[in-house]
């Protein structure tokens, strides 16, 4: 088997995650989908590091995880405060981007 299949898998997961971001209304699920996309990227990085035979890819993946962690923390905090204020976690309720 050619390890490139990992890349195909990553692409598939990424696409699925993206679709999820687009179709789900629940902010938490949207976040999960984003996590899914990030993980797909990580998988790709890892596969690439295997491809190139050095560890930089893994480093990047590592950083991605850290950043993802930070992002999740902040994001979830936002969701919580949002839920407090309007008792709902639906992204559509926050349609304030229109005047």
């Amino acid at each position: 088997m050619n390890p490139v299949n990992y890349l195909y898998l990553a692409a598939l997961l990424f696409a699925i995650g993206a679709t999820g971001v687009l179709i789900r209304r629940n902010a938490i699920v949207v976040f999960m989908c984003i996590e899914l996309m990030l993980n797909a990227c990580n998988l790709a990085f890892v596969a690439f590091s295997r491809l190139h035979g050095n560890l930089d890819g893994q480093i990047i993946a590592f950083f991605t995880m850290v950043v993802a962690a930070a992002e999740v923390v902040v994001g979830l905090a936002i969701i919580v405060s949002l839920f407090r204020s309007r008792h709902s976690a639906s992204v559509d309720d926050a349609s304030l981007m229109k005047l």
Partner: protein
């Protein structure tokens, strides 16, 4: 160890890839298709664990572990906490509100997938160097050397980022109490002034058949009083109702009876179940459904 993550892959790895890969994809699909956030979270967790396995298979041992510990262990748990906060059983309806959004989304996703596949397919990635050399004196050591030499600034900055994120989260969630907390006396006077229920709020469900926090207590005339359920539950709409409880149990009994005695099905003619429109009734019905299933085991 070095045998793994070679430039070619053993049949074992292939087998593992095909099996786990399928599961991972299914997990991802479930993540985006489950109606309840908690289910999505669980599926996602599954997918992530599988990814961790793949990391290991690709010679990224450290990452594999971190994946399990940090992601599946920390982040997903965080998710679950929030989900609980927002409501475990709260299931969002899959009815799309924005016109054409769903189709556009699917189109984009599909198109993007095809695009990536095409891209990867074009790039002829045949010869994998494999990590044998890179990992020869340990994967972790290799990473460490890189992190603390080449990527040290990035590392520091990431640390700063984490701190900031933590502080940010606290700032966001922490609510400053601006006014003095009301004393009991003031609260009492306030109640009297408003003239609604003079006594303090009743404890939930304690006068009812079930001592459950999410069941409204019955007033002397037998009608349930929503006041007795805590606000959060009320807002999540997770109040269960004594009467519906009883009815469901009854129905379950009858069901079993019919099953056993092959009587004609009564559900059609049952007035209690046509709870369309009113969401509370819907939720009740859903809950009832579970109850029956549980009961039938």
């Amino acid at each position: 160890m070095t045998a793994l993550a070679a430039y070619t892959t053993s049949t074992g790895e292939a087998f593992q890839f095909w099996v786990l890969g399928t599961v991972a994809v299914i997990g991802a699909l479930c993540t985006i298709l489950m109606r309840k956030a908690v289910h999505s979270a669980l599926c996602l967790a599954g997918t992530m664990i599988i990814l961790a396995v793949f990391y290991l298979a690709n010679g990224a041992y450290f990452l594999g572990i971190v994946q399990i510990v940090v992601y599946t262990g920390a982040i997903m748990m965080l998710f679950l906490f929030v989900v609980m906060l927002v409501g475990v059983t709260a299931a969002d309806s899959l009815k799309e509100t924005i016109k054409g959004q769903r189709w556009l989304a699917l189109l984009c996703g599909l198109g993007f997938a095809i695009l990536l596949f095409a891209g990867i397919g074009n790039a002829s990635l045949k010869d994998f160097n494999g990590l044998a050399k890179a990992n020869e004196n340990g994967n972790v050591e290799g990473l460490a050397t890189l992190i603390f030499t080449k990527y040290v600034f990035a590392f520091e900055i990431t640390g700063a980022l984490l701190i900031t994120a933590t502080v940010g989260a606290m700032v966001l969630t922490h609510r400053e109490r601006t006014e003095r907390a009301k004393t009991q006396r003031e609260l009492a006077e306030e109640r009297v002034r408003e003239g609604k229920h003079l006594p303090p709020l009743p404890a939930p469900g304690v006068y009812a058949r079930h001592n459950a926090v999410d069941i409204a207590g019955l007033l002397p005339d037998g009608t349930p009083s929503e006041l007795t359920v805590s606000r959060t539950l009320r807002e999540r709409g997770q109040i269960r109702d004594v009467s519906t409880e009883a009815l469901n149990d009854l129905r379950a009994l009858e069901q079993r009876a019919t099953d056993r005695l092959e009587r004609p099905d009564l559900r059609r003619t049952d007035p209690g179940r046509n709870g369309d429109g009113d969401p509370a009734a819907e939720r009740a019905a859903a809950v009832a459904g579970e109850q029956t299933e549980e009961a039938s085991k």
